[in-house]
Assembly symmetry: C2
Homo-oligomer: 127 residues x 2
DNA sequence: CCCATACTACGAATTTTATCGTAATAAATA
DNA sequence: TATTTATTACGATAAAATTCGTAGTATGGG
């Protein structure tokens, strides 16, 4: 029971979630300024998106001050898990390894990250 | 010069591309039958989607027979590269390693694949 | 207290995606 | 040859996502 529908953020909603995940919380102004750095977008457009996300339950907000303060209501990790799973299915025919190699092969990871991946890999190989 | 706009397949288009990549080529009927295995979809819906994809340049088709034969006009690899890159940016704050660990940690890869990944990793670490 | 400013709310228009019905046409078959 | 069947084309509708204008409201400075 309860409002646990599967929420699939749209493209635009993801951009906003990204901002909220980075900053922790943000006003419409904060979000709008951040989005403006990479694209042309009106203030009320950002506002409207946040309002819709609020209705959907993708964000929470504190209305006690005049400027509402928004927070992400879905975790980055959970969203990543959801979308990565979908991508593996629709784009890599169900093979996670193919995705991993695509990502590793085409995008440079730091040596720190490579070490972390190595450790995880060692663990997986043990089983 | 030339029609090299960035083509971003939609959800539904990706499902169809997946079928075309698997089969090499296919008629509308083939595609429709395949999609019907996992979802409710009308024949003319599949047809229309393929027609739209044709207009966009996502597929080519051979019209010499009554039943047109469609092929993907974009490669699986290129599409993967494009969408994985986007995902790294919008969902993993630009860090490919995070994506890799997400995928490895949450989805079981075969030991063959783990070996391949290991080799790739060794290579990357050398540099 | 009044005005300028900064917000939110709301509704409307647009664009994109998805879905399907109907008509026209060609092919197969009875 | 006449009829059924398979197929494409086209347009209409619906649903989802995006965008922004306008109006109303509160707040803070003068």
């Amino acid at each position: 029971m309860g409002p646990n529908k599967i929420l699939k953020p749209t493209e635009g909603e993801l951009e906003i979630l990204q901002v909220l995940w980075e900053k922790g919380d943000a006003t419409v102004r904060d979000v709008h300024e951040e989005l403006s750095r990479t694209k042309d977008i009106g203030y009320t457009t950002a506002l409207k998106l946040l309002q819709i996300m609020y209705e959907k339950g993708l964000v929470t907000r504190d209305e006690s001050a005049k400027s509402h303060i928004y927070k992400a209501a879905v975790s980055r990790e959970k969203t990543q898990k959801q979308l990565v799973g979908k991508m593996i299915n629709t784009l890599f025919a169900g093979s996670p390894g193919q995705l991993v190699m695509q990502a590793l092969g085409n995008h440079q990871a730091s040596s720190d990250e490579l070490e972390q991946i190595q450790k995880l890999l060692d663990n997986l190989k043990k089983k």
